[in-house]
Amino acid sequence: MLTQLLTNNGFKKFLIRLGIFLLVLFSVDFIIGSVLRNLYFKQSSGPDYETIYALEKSQEELMVFGSSRARNHYHPKAFEEALGMSFYNAGRNGNFILYSNAVVQAVLKRHQPKAIILDIVGHEFEYYAPNYEKLSVLLPFYKTHPEIRSTVNLRGNFEPVKLWFQMYPFNSTLLSIGLGNTQFYNKKDPVIKGYSPINRELSQEPVIDTVNLHYEIDTIQVKSYEQFIKSCKDAGVDLYIVCSPYFNTFPVRDKSVVLAEEIAKKYQVPFWDHSQDPAFTGNPKNFYDVRHLNEPSSLRFSTLIAEKIKSADGRLAND
């Protein structure tokens, strides 16, 4: 039957045309992929630019990792003034421990900050599929940063196969690449050393937040958190883990925060839970929305953390 198939003229024609098709496809893919890669790494503003900076260029002594809460809560001015260290905030909106861990691996490979703050959120270790999908922001670095590959591969078994295509790492980035090569992002939302100030006051009263208290813990994200801690310790970096304030109150401590604290204790890493700090929580004047502090409060909160770091370990302060 195989011989019959091989002598079938239609099959021969198909094989030849398939060969041509694949050749054209991979050539076009290579050209468009290369152009996009070039434009991607030439960006001068926007979230992708900030990730590029954190992964490949950052040389700061103090770095902050985490989600949008990290990005909006840790003000460079407070840390630079209190600790006298250069500062960069590598938090990224909508990305959590898996992303932070991948970025810290890339940073530690080429540079050793003096200190790192990891901001964790409530429900940090909850299984949530989009946490894996959002690792797509690391795809452009897959080729050049082997240290992040194991994290990116968590997106699915066939991620390396999809990466045969040079265009795939730039999926859904066309618009951001275009805008990132202009000053659009800088004009729209000015960012100061990775910190993004947001200004508004809430106009609502706090409630007791009882949303999904009994969620499933995702062991992969817990392992990623442990790896983050171990890597910092192995590199001799002073690590501080913080849960920054929320607007609403919780009837019980969040399971992820409790677990994160236990693990931090195991590795003798300072863990500061400010999620229900009465100096911030419950006061609408402090918050932009229920999860994010506004700029004046973030400055106040950053000063508080900077002072804690200073008193926790005097050798960090240059003054």
Binding site: F14, G156, N157, M167, N171, L174
Partner: protein
């Protein structure tokens, strides 16, 4: 296994290659094993349910053919009870129980009937309907009973259309498993093209629009009427591209191996009336209901009130077929109402208005297309909403039309690129049939350029989160 996964690409290449390498007499076995593997990639144990209905319908078919008179009818009823029974247990039991609880609770009683903690087997409504069409056709004498158990099993389980159709008829499919299909270049390429277009519709349009739709419909309380109206229009295209994308991949995959499956969609949003819409949307299900329910109820060869009733009840049951929820029942009822109203209007109103409004034909047609689209969009609100309460809230908000539009610029930008390509292709195929085609162009440069643009758009703006097809849940 999802059509929009890398696993499926490998599966398809392997099965199709083996299919053409193996001698014809072994091909049914290959396809059956492949189909079992394909189905078991979801929830393996549910293959036992399929096996149960296959065994019943296989023997019922033979007994129906051999029996005479009332016995023949009894065997058909046995087959229908088995199929509908499986649907009733797995799909409707908890829904009925919920409603019973509600009624008993109103009277102050507790419901003693326990709930079943079961997942709905994937594509259950599709393969049970396909199985039922077999025994009904044997009963009607339109199809000979299939004696080969493997080939009959393959009729129910043929992997391209196993979980979301098209719902085939035995006269169209069974004989094809006995026909030897040789490798035909044109057929293979045409099948692959259709698969590419289906993938484009699913990844670039449906899954992209779904991001906006899910955000709005997931939280209707917090969104404005304008946002919900836009989300509803996006959902109309999402569900069309999701389901017709699946059908294109299914028809294309079957075509590559030499099988012809029935067309399931025919540019439905260019319909100028609701009845035209239903002759272009999910054609395999619409014709199933027409052939086996509407006509069995008497169709239109009955007194006019009964005709309207037949039409309405057919759509009501079609709504229930989609899901065990009042939202689907209302959706079906609404479409039934549209059709009955259209009949009444054409009978009593239109003939008095005919030629009284002097408008060019193209304006009338465009107006009719827009009105049909708006009516269908309105019914989609009930199809998509999580509950009846949500649906009415959305309707209320849309009609008050207050507040700004939630603008997710990135998703909208990519979504509109996909929609522009879709619209161009649909308009070309509907109104400019003689215009130069792109995907099928004779000039290889144009053809290859079109392939490349589609693939580049899939890679650059497609959504690769491995989301399921909406109709799998039915």
């Amino acid at each position: 296994m999802l059509f929009n996964s890398i696993e499926f690409v490998f599966f398809f290449i392997l099965v199709t290659s083996l299919y053409f390498i193996l001698p014809h007499k072994y091909r049914w076995f290959l396809l059956l094993v492949a189909s079992c593997y394909f189905y078991m990639a979801f929830v393996p144990v549910y293959i036992l349910i399929l096996f149960f209905t296959i065994v019943i319908d296989y023997f019922a078919g033979i007994w129906i053919e051999e029996a005479q008179g009332k016995k023949k009818r009894r065997y058909l009823i046995l087959s229908l009870i088995a199929n509908i029974g499986v649907l009733a247990v797995f799909k409707y039991y908890n829904f009925l129980n919920d409603n019973l609880t509600f009624l008993l609770h109103g009277a102050g009683w507790e419901n003693p009937v326990p709930y079943l903690s079961i997942l709905l087997p994937i594509g259950l409504s599709f393969h049970t309907f396909q199985a039922m069409s077999y025994t009904i056709e044997v009963y009607r004498g339109h199809q000979k009973a299939e004696r080969h158990f493997g080939i009959y099993s393959l009729y129910v389980m043929f992997y391209p259309q196993l979980v979301a159709g098209p719902i085939e008829r035995p006269q169209n499919l069974l004989f094809q498993f006995r026909t030897e299909h040789k490798f035909e270049y044109e057929r293979v390429v045409s099948g692959l093209r259709l698969m590419l277009w289906g993938l484009f519709k699913k990844l670039v349009i449906a899954d992209r629009l779904a991001i906006y739709v899910n955000a709005a419909y997931g939280n209707p309380d917090e969104h404005t009427g304008l946002t919900l109206a836009v989300a509803t229009m996006f959902f109309a295209f999402q569900i069309y591209c999701d389901f017709s994308g699946y059908s294109d991949i299914a028809i294309g995959a079957a075509r590559v191996m030499g099988y012809d499956l029935m067309k399931n969609f025919n540019r439905p949003y260019l319909s100028a009336s609701i009845s035209e819409f239903w002759s272009r949307w999910h054609i395999s299900l619409s014709t199933w209901f027409k052939d086996y329910l509407y006509i069995s109820l008497g169709g239109n060869r009955v007194p006019i009130p009964r005709w309207y009733f037949n039409l309405f009840i057919t759509f009501l049951i079609s709504g229930l077929w989609h899901g065990a929820n009042w939202t689907y029942i209302i959706w079906g009822a609404l479409n039934g109402f549209y059709l009955v109203f259209a009949l009444i209007r054409s009978r009593y109103i239109d003939k008095h208005l005919e030629n009284k409004i002097p408008l060019p034909a193209w304006i009338k047609k465009t107006g009719n297309i827009l009105v049909t689209f708006i009516l269908i969009c309105f019914s989609w609100i009930f199809f998509r909403a999580a509950s009846v309460q949500d649906a009415f809230l959305i309707v209320k908000k849309i009609f008050t039309f207050s507040g700004p539009l939630f603008t997710d610029f990135t998703q909208m930008f990519y979504g509109f690129i996909g929609l522009a390509v879709l619209l161009a292709r649909e308009l070309k195929h509907e109104y400019f049939k003689n215009a130069t085609p792109l995907l099928e162009n004779r000039n290889p440069v144009v053809r290859y350029a079109t392939y490349m643009v589609l693939i580049a758009l899939i890679l650059l703006i497609g959504v690769f989160d491995g989301s399921q097809f909406i109709y799998f849940q039915f």
